[in-house]
């Protein structure tokens, strides 16, 4: 007898786009982890000052940046920051969003009211503004960005989960579980959250680009991750200055960001379809 996960895995494998997305994502993650092994140069060393701004060549695959650093190495190292920001934020948004959404949706009443007010507070304050303020207080940087992204990312997940759980709470199968003596937590964990997998994955996948974009936006406003740590957002922002001629400085980090998010969303969609058995006829 095969386990449900085995079937989910088979469903996943049969979705070509998802497999490609997953593979690209895996490659990106491996690249981030093994960055020192696959990059020819130190990403922070200004070893090619005389060739600064050189276009892509056999030696410098993505060219050289304005400070004489090998751009390929920087892109690879940049994935470390961008991926961690994206994924930590997404992870946090799920870690915060799911329980809160589940609580609000399942118990309703006063708990729901309180959680909805918290959500309102977070929907009213633009993340960028909070990031600017917080950046000014905490000296900004990596931690602040992750913090802000997580702080604001969960709202969407929470709302989606809440709506889904509210809809499912009245379903007979929840009653059935109650009749069997299941505790609310058990019901939330075993029934309601699996049934909310689709909004959770959507929320997770959406919060990754949001966090990465936040990083880029903050770089634009000058409160991003401080140099020389390479991040894609910072590189895109610097690349804009050079877009007229030295296009490679803007194109490569933007493409890296886009590819990561595209891969993530294809992978996420595939995952969702695979984990939701009822969708498989489509």
């Amino acid at each position: 007898m095969r386990s449900p996960l085995w079937f989910a895995w088979r469903r996943f494998l049969s979705n070509k786009a998802a497999v490609v997305g997953g593979a690209v994502l895996a490659i990106l993650i491996l690249m981030a982890i093994f960055a020192p092994l696959i990059t020819p140069y130190n990403p922070e060393a200004q070893s090619f000052l005389t060739e600064a701004l050189a276009f892509p060549s056999a030696e410098h695959w993505f060219g050289v940046d304005n400070l004489g650093r090998d751009f390929y190495s920087r892109i690879v190292y940049g994935s470390r920051v961008s991926l961690t920001i994206g994924f930590t934020a997404a992870l946090f948004s799920v870690i915060i969003g799911i329980p809160l959404g589940a609580l609000a949706g399942y118990f309703g009443g006063r708990i729901d009211w309180v959680i909805m007010r918290i959500i309102e507070v977070f929907s009213v304050v633009p993340p960028l503004l909070a990031a600017l303020l917080l950046g000014a207080i905490t000296r900004g940087g990596y931690g602040t960005i992750v913090f802000i992204a997580a702080l604001f990312g969960w709202v969407q997940v929470c709302l989606l989960v809440r709506a889904q759980i509210k809809a499912f709470r009245e379903k007979e199968f929840v009653r059935a579980a109650q009749a069997l003596g299941a505790s609310p937590w058990y019901i939330i964990r075993r029934h309601l959250i699996p049934n909310s997998i689709s909004p959770i994955i959507i929320g997770f996948v959406l919060s990754i680009p949001l966090a990465m974009m936040l990083e880029a936006s903050l770089s634009f406003l000058g409160v991003g991750v401080p140099p020389p740590t390479p991040t894609w957002g910072q590189m895109i922002n610097e690349g804009i200055d050079f877009m007229f001629f030295y296009w490679h400085l803007a194109v490569f980090p933007t493409a890296a960001l886009a590819i990561t998010v595209l891969a993530t969303s294809l992978f996420g969609d595939g995952l969702r379809d695979a984990l939701d058995p009822t969708l498989k006829g489509r």
Binding site: E44, A45, Q46, L49, T50, A52, L53, N66, L67, G68, A136, R139, G140, G222, V223, P226, P227, P228, I240, D241, F242, M243, F244, F245, Y246, L249
Partner: protein
């Protein structure tokens, strides 16, 4: 009708009154008024509102004779009273540039009045008659006339009527200079000026309308607008220079700013309380490589706080600033950090800003970071702060090392040396230095003065008070439709563009 669209200063401005606020002024507020004197493109001081000036025997009193027939745009005559009133108000109303008139102008009683310990009537300022102004300084100020390039009149009759609010709205703003205001978009501080038809002073504009738009100031925005025909010139960042040069080979202009970027420290805090550490930093910078590669010639190496061509510039002292890794290492070792071992992690703070500093400082900071790591073996973190916080940090000594930019306010060495004098903006208290500067400032013999400033500079180097880094150069592309003296390079090959606003905007025409 000719309209010139030009990039300009800051996107936020409160009062259209230079004598009310400098840092928060409305765009073009200086073009609206006529200063006592100003500079032309060769940096010759040219009388504007004044016709002539004389210095008294003891060197303490300057008398300015105003041109007759100058009027405000509402028809009221422009009198000496308006000039005197401008400074009297500045001394008493919390003018954010008030320090200038103490530090550069040295006007008698200024300090006491601004601090509220003396009455405004004790100021060394007097309108003798409608066309004569008398200024008394605490010490002889041989360069005082160049200080007056930032002395604009304030319409006393308007202030009497409306208070400071006269400068808030286009309908109540009056001008005395070559331009009048037509509109002012406050959200981005852009203005439209028109040629004044009441102005009778020197340098009458050759264009009819002038749109000054600060949002064009960032080259990323300015150049596309320029290329699309929406602006008449634009500043360039390093990445844009090749495109612009290719497309407009004759339109490229270089603009040597009288400005310097340098490293300053908290002299009292470890590790920079050790002169050896400071000297190590001085020798660890390869300025030539910095400017030629990283900055792509949008700056030139700085060996002195004074930029080349600036009065008092001393090439010999500047030549001392060489890149000498061995010396640098030696100094650091002497300080007890051989090869950087044991050196604490430090964070260098720079100010976020646009303009030419925005173009060079971040890249330069990263360059220094790499360089100090390589040469000295120390790690330097970088932090960019918004203006007020950076200033707060500098003044409150909240950090121990900064990249500081400074651009001249008036054309005299005392300007640059004054920023380290007796506290100044860095909280430096170096008695030997202060002594030399005090002497030099009031010395009326120009050769002796320059010699004294040279001594001060040498002391700065020996004490490692600062590390001069670069002097910014701005590069701009100018449309071929823009002609006139204003866009022609001066004898040194530079065009100052809007840095010399009065000269530039009155010396251009457009086809």
């Amino acid at each position: 009708q000719t309209t010139v669209v030009a990039p300009s200063g800051s996107t936020a401005g409160t009062y259209m009154d230079y004598m009310k606020t400098v840092y928060d002024r409305g765009t073009g507020s200086e073009l609206l008024q006529i200063p006592i004197a100003t500079f032309d493109k060769e940096f010759e001081l040219t009388p504007m509102a004044a016709e002539s000036w004389t210095q008294s025997e003891d060197g303490l009193t300057w008398t300015f004779k105003l041109r007759s027939g100058l009027v405000w745009s509402d028809g009221e005559p422009l009198t000496a009273e308006d000039f005197v009133f401008a400074l009297q108000r500045a001394a008493t109303s919390g003018y954010d540039f008030a320090w200038y008139w103490d530090f550069a102008g040295g006007i008698k009683g200024w300090k006491e009045v601004t601090e509220g310990t003396a009455d405004v009537s004790t100021l060394g300022l007097k309108a003798v008659d409608d066309l004569t102004i008398e200024v008394t300084t605490v010490a002889p100020k041989p360069y005082f006339p160049s200080v007056t390039s930032l002395w604009y009149p304030v319409p006393k009759h308007k202030v009497d009527e409306l208070g400071d609010d006269w400068a808030l709205d286009v309908s109540t703003i009056v001008s005395s200079g070559p331009f009048e205001i037509e509109s002012w978009e406050k959200s981005n501080n852009s203005v439209v000026l028109t040629k004044s038809d009441t102005y009778t002073g020197p340098w009458s504009p050759m264009i009819d309308r002038l749109e000054l738009d600060p949002t064009l100031n960032a080259p990323e925005v300015g150049l596309p607008a320029f290329l699309a025909g929406d602006a008449d010139y634009s500043f360039l960042n390093t990445g844009q220079v090749p495109v612009a040069t290719a497309r407009y080979p004759d339109g490229i202009r270089k603009n040597a700013v009288f400005a310097t970027s340098y490293i300053s420290y908290d002299l009292d805090a470890a590790p920079f309380n050790d002169v050896n550490v400071r000297r190590a930093f001085y020798y660890a910078v390869d300025r030539d490589e910095l400017t030629s590669t990283v900055l792509k010639d949008i700056a030139i190496p700085a060996g002195s706080i004074l930029p080349p061509g600036y009065p008092g510039y001393n090439p010999d002292i500047a030549a001392e600033a060489v890149f000498d890794p061995e010396k640098a290492k030696q100094f650091l070792a002497d300080a007890g950090f051989p090869n950087g071992e044991g050196f604490p992690d430090v964070e260098i703070w720079y100010r976020e800003e646009g303009g030419y500093n925005g173009a060079i400082v971040p890249a330069m900071a990263q360059y220094l970071q790499a360089e100090f790591k390589e040469v000295l073996g120390i790690s330097l973190n970088i932090r960019a702060l918004p203006g007020p916080e950076w200033m707060d940090g500098l003044r409150g000594k909240k950090n121990n090392i900064f990249i500081a930019p400074y651009e001249y306010d008036y054309l005299d060495p005392s300007n640059f040396y004054g920023i380290f004098y007796n506290g100044g903006r860095h909280g430096y208290f170096v008695p030997e230095y202060d002594e030399i500067i005090a002497k030099a400032d009031s010395e009326s013999d120009w050769d002796t003065r320059y010699k004294l400033y040279g001594e001060a500079e040498q002391l700065m180097i020996d004490q490692g008070l600062i590390v001069p880094l670069v002097h910014p150069v701005t590069i701009a592309v100018v449309s071929d439709q823009l002609t006139g003296d204003g866009v022609q390079p001066n004898s040194l090959g530079f065009t100052q563009l809007d840095r010399l606003g009065h000269y530039f905007f009155t010396h251009i025409t457009k086809q």
